[in-house]
Homo-oligomer: 354 residues x 2
């Protein structure tokens, strides 16, 4: 039963691509395989269903569409979506009303930039009705802006690091019994001189040069070492936190009706290693990146698509915002939303750290 080939697999013409687009648009809406009749009825193609069938067969030969079984309509392959995404990538924009709405929301969160990325995830989730993802902006190497030491009890103090990038770090350090808060304050003042604006490597060097005859040299050195260690941990930590919102949206998608599929999506989301890797890749590029189905290395991710964009200042601190949803995703909307939100966050950060 060899399939008869009507035409050698040459380049697909304009009409074929129009039909491919129609199949994808329709499938994204309906989530059911799209037949030739439905296409001619709902999209003014000006040809009969038989002609459409011929073209569908060609598209299938080219690997852009597929067939769940003989007597079913077509569904797009990952390659089909890929083609679709390439063609709409540049033009995808958000409606102005939504842009204003989002701006308004971000305007209301006056305070810490720490909350921006959470807001980004939840905004994206609401608008795209998929899962929204966001990571905090993280520097390649953290710079200390300020150090603080506060006694907690006789033997412990809390070391607070304020980073130039807006983050806070707190760790506990052991102190000798009887060290007063005044001593700690003095030590902190001395350390501030050493560490302000510096990264882990610089600070390590500075700590080594502390003269022995300095008052409390020992304590200063010990806390200094602790600062270095904390910064190093922070730097190495590939992606400290991937915040997600709107997982329930994804759960509602018909492709995840069987709960084992759903489970795979979730274990994928807990696969921080891969997401972290992607964040790295995306951060290096300037614009929106899309990862569709099997383009994702981990098997758990083969049924979802990711639309990610970096934000922040390259070389200083970058984070990522994005969408996770089924491969059957409204890509134009997702791309437009993610692009707009990342751009907005750039604006905000520029404005803040100008």
């Amino acid at each position: 039963m060899a399939r008869r080939i009507r035409r050698s697999t040459g380049p697909l013409d304009h009409r074929a691509h129009a039909i491919l687009r129609a199949v994808i648009d329709e499938y994204v809406l309906s989530a059911t395989p799209v037949g030739s009749l439905a296409l001619v009825e709902r999209y003014g193609l000006g040809v009969s269903s038989a002609t459409v069938r011929n073209i569908l067969a060609e598209l299938e030969l080219s690997g852009l569409l597929t067939h769940p079984h003989t007597s079913a309509g077509r569904i797009p392959t990952d390659e089909g979506y890929r083609w679709y995404v390439e063609t709409i990538m540049e033009s995808a924009l958000m409606p102005e009303v939504e842009q204003l709405m989002i701006r308004h929301q971000f305007g209301q969160v006056e305070s810490a930039s720490e909350h921006w990325f959470r807001l980004a995830a939840s905004t994206i989730a609401t608008i795209t009705r998929s899962a929204g993802l966001a990571t905090p902006a993280k520097p390649a190497a953290a710079h200390v802006r300020r150090v603080d030491l506060v006694a907690i009890n006789d033997r412990l103090a809390s070391l607070v690091l304020v980073l130039r990038e807006g983050a806070l770090k707190q760790v506990l350090v052991n102190i000798e019994s009887g060290t007063s808060q005044d001593t700690l304050t003095a030590v902190a003042a001395r350390l501030n001189g050493l560490v302000t604006g510096r990264t882990a490597t610089d600070i390590a060097r500075a700590v080594r040069r502390i003269p022995d005859d300095l008052p409390e040299a020992d304590l200063i050195r010990r806390v200094g070492d602790r600062i270095v260690r904390t910064l190093r941990e922070y730097d190495v930590d590939a992606v400290e936190d991937i915040f997600s919102d709107g997982l329930l949206n994804v759960m509602g998608a018909p492709e995840f009706a069987q709960s084992d599929k759903l489970r795979r999506v979730f274990s994928a989301l807990e696969n921080r290693a891969y997401l972290g890797e992607l964040v790295g890749t995306v951060a290096a590029t300037g614009d929106v990146s899309v990862f569709i189905g099997h383009e994702n290395a981990p098997a758990d991710m083969r049924e979802v698509a990711l639309v990610l964009a970096p934000y922040g200042q390259p070389g200083r601190a970058v984070g990522v915002v994005g969408v996770l949803g089924p491969t059957r995703m409204a890509y134009p909307q997702a791309i437009g939303t993610v692009r707009f939100v990342s751009g907005l966050m750039n604006e905000l950060i520029d404005h803040l750290y100008a």
Copy 2:
């Protein structure tokens, strides 16, 4: 077809309770309705299946067991689980090996107490193979330990609050163009005198008493107001954060094989209002609390059980750790684990803030 009653619904004797316990133990293991034959075979009851059937009928009359359909075995009702939990509540303990394992894990997280509650959730999830829940310890009213002001740019400064309870808060404040870091440091020093050890209400009073002729009185007042507002928000925020881990464990349970049930569980978890309310209730008690199925008010929660315990110092800062799983839960283990972990966290906190 009126059901014939063998005996008036008097109190159930010892044997009936032994059988009830056997049904629950068996059902928790197998997740399938338990028949009379399976009971006599697997539990040395010393009576025939017919006798067991009579007793099962009694238990059903008392509302402790139920029947999915005529020819199926028995499954426990929420009331059945409730009885079970009451009888084992006191005796539930963790195996010593696991206790040591957990102690070891907690010992390795030397640094910030902020990470303890996350570790608690993940430990509980691993051991009970359900979802682990934990909230950070939160004071009834936050006390400030220290204030810090760091310039970010010409018009903005970062205000950092270190709370007595171990938490950190950061917000941005507007400053007048040209304010130097030295001025900010001086303002912070002045504020430290005003706020240290105080709560929002006290600080509000102190701010009102700042004399006008103090240098930078204006800025001090503005930042002081901001501190008060930040603290008030923090105090009001019923439950800032409910951290969960091991959701995948719950997803694997056969009762959630249909993804709509799963969805309900998840939307329940996003129902912070109810969880927050529970946290309040539990925090007021001393020991483990169990909420089974329909004992939970929200409809979404009717198919899950919660085992929660408070930790921390009553009157200072309290948080909650716990388990969320199907009502068919290994209660002895869950209760033992939660009790142990909350006790351990108490120990750690006592040790830290002694």
